[in-house]
């Protein structure tokens, strides 16, 4: 409950009243008061400085006429509610960055356009308990908002980093499995197609052994690039393991997946890769599968694509195998 301001203005408290006037005027917080007609009756120094309007030029004027930039419809309703309910009310910079378009004191290091503001609206009641005035306190939340912004940027960067493989900048295994799990649930729910391609660089160990790990890394980077270039907008590519990649293809049936797999195989193999001065012709083997009504879980798609991939390796490499039930028996 707000204290009755007349209490502190008794004659014997004259010294205290003077002190309170001083504090209200000079506190580093915006304080202003309006009456029931929305006319400004008090405007402290903080408000003077930041609005660049002296108290004697705004006191007696309608708040919304003096400051047409205020969100009148919304704020007026808030004031009306406060008069009816006699309840404190608040605004936060997080939802509404500012009420008044004030400059902030970080013009150089800020990065935000104007002062972020938290605001409290207090009902000031008369002896009959009716709200006669509304007292606004306005807090500069610019610093907090800048920290918050930095925190969000950093969090976003960290999340992005935690989803990426450092060498290839492709999505990492954890992220791609999460994505596949989500896509699997979605496909199940809506009866959509979903295909998975698993691919592995042929004879990659020989690249490392004969040309060194730096050349191996370069091959991984360039293969990643060629795979990325061959994808469509909704395909999701990730590095699954050492030289193994996985592609999740939402709303794609096995025919479409096989066509894409072949296109990628040809694209990777088309031109030699310049790795640390050596020109290497690189090939990939691929396994493809799609969701059907018998698919139990997303992991089954990976296992099936892996069987297809194994079959491709077994069949002489640089080729694509579409999974079918019984493929694993046939491979043995």
């Amino acid at each position: 409950m707000p204290d009755d301001p007349s209490q502190s203005q008794k004659p014997e408290n004259g010294g205290v009243a003077q002190l309170l006037n001083f504090i209200v005027d000079r506190a580093h917080v915006g304080i202003f008061v309006i009456n029931r007609e929305r006319e400004i009756v008090l405007w402290n120094q903080f408000m003077e400085i930041h609005s660049e309007r002296k108290a004697d030029t705004v006191v007696g004027h309608n708040l919304f006429e003096a400051f047409p930039e205020l969100p009148q419809k919304w704020l007026d309703r808030k004031i009306e509610n406060l008069m009816i309910l006699k309840n404190f009310s608040f605004t936060s910079w997080e939802q509404r960055p500012y009420l008044f378009k004030f400059a902030h004191n970080r013009p150089v290091t800020g990065g935000v356009d104007c002062m972020r503001q938290d605001c409290t609206l207090m009902p000031v009641k008369d002896e009959a308990g009716e709200v006669q005035f509304v007292c606004f306190t306005l807090f500069d939340a610019t610093d907090t908002s800048i920290y918050q912004l930095k925190l969000e940027e950093t969090t976003e960067k960290l999340r992005e980093m935690s989803n990426r493989d450092g060498l290839t900048q492709l999505f990492n295994r954890r992220y791609i499995e999460e994505t596949l799990s989500t896509e699997f649930d979605r496909a199940r729910r809506y009866g959509n197609n979903l295909s998975v391609i698993l691919t592995d660089i042929d004879f990659f160990k020989l690249v490392n052994d004969n040309h060194g790990h730096l050349a191996g890394d370069e091959v991984l980077r360039i293969v990643s690039q060629r795979l990325t270039d061959g994808l469509r907008g909704t395909d999701i590519l990730g590095r699954y393991g050492g030289e193994e990649f996985i592609i999740v293809l939402p709303e794609t049936d096995i025919k479409g997946a096989e066509i894409l797999a072949e296109r990628l195989r040809i694209a990777v193999n088309a031109e030699p890769i310049d790795a640390e001065g050596d020109s290497l012709t690189i090939a990939i083997s691929l396994g493809v599968t799609e969701i059907n009504e018998k698919t139990q879980a997303y992991a089954q798609l990976i296992a099936e694509a892996d069987l297809g991939l194994y079959k491709s390796k077994d069949s002489g490499r640089n080729c694509t195998t579409v999974y079918y039930p019984g493929l694993d028996q046939d491979s043995d």
Binding site: N81, L85, N87, F88, Q95
Partner: protein
Amino acid sequence: MTMKPYTEDQNDALQEVVNIAMGQAGDSLARILGNFVELSVPRIRLVTVDDVISTVTGMVDTNAEVSAVRQAFSNSLRGEAIVIFAQAGADDLADLMGYDTDLDQSAEQELLLEVANLLVGAIINGISETLETDLSFSAPSLMAERKPLDQVLVPEQLSWSHALLMEVNFTVEGRDFKCHLLMFMTEEAIDTLRGILDEFMDGI
């Protein structure tokens, strides 16, 4: 501390005070929404940190996503109030309050904060007037947005063992809008409230 913090008389008095305050909150909501608001009979429970989640999910009883706003109160009694909005109802709120229904995310959040503040403010004012004790409250803040209910409260973040929980829910006739108001007071406030209730009963 015993599981029965109050005598029967104290409990009756508390229930009465809470009923009045919750009723005032419902009345405030009805005035702002311009609709008839129904409220449940307020429930008062002593909960432990181990059973608070199950108690709250039992009371709120929804599988749908919710948004939640928290607000602290202090002075003679310290605690926190949490208002949990069923998401469908939160979406209905803009229409009820006479705003355009295609609000952006910030405007939607602002509405939730506004309504939570209105309810919590009315209850705090109601309790402080009835018990003739000073209570004040801080600005509301969003604690969860479109989350499953069991993710709203995180047990690891609760640093108390017992709390007094008061719950009421508000519905608007013929609309999707529904919200639950939970008020928590921890050990110290439970003891303080005992004294306040005794003074209140002496004064009757």
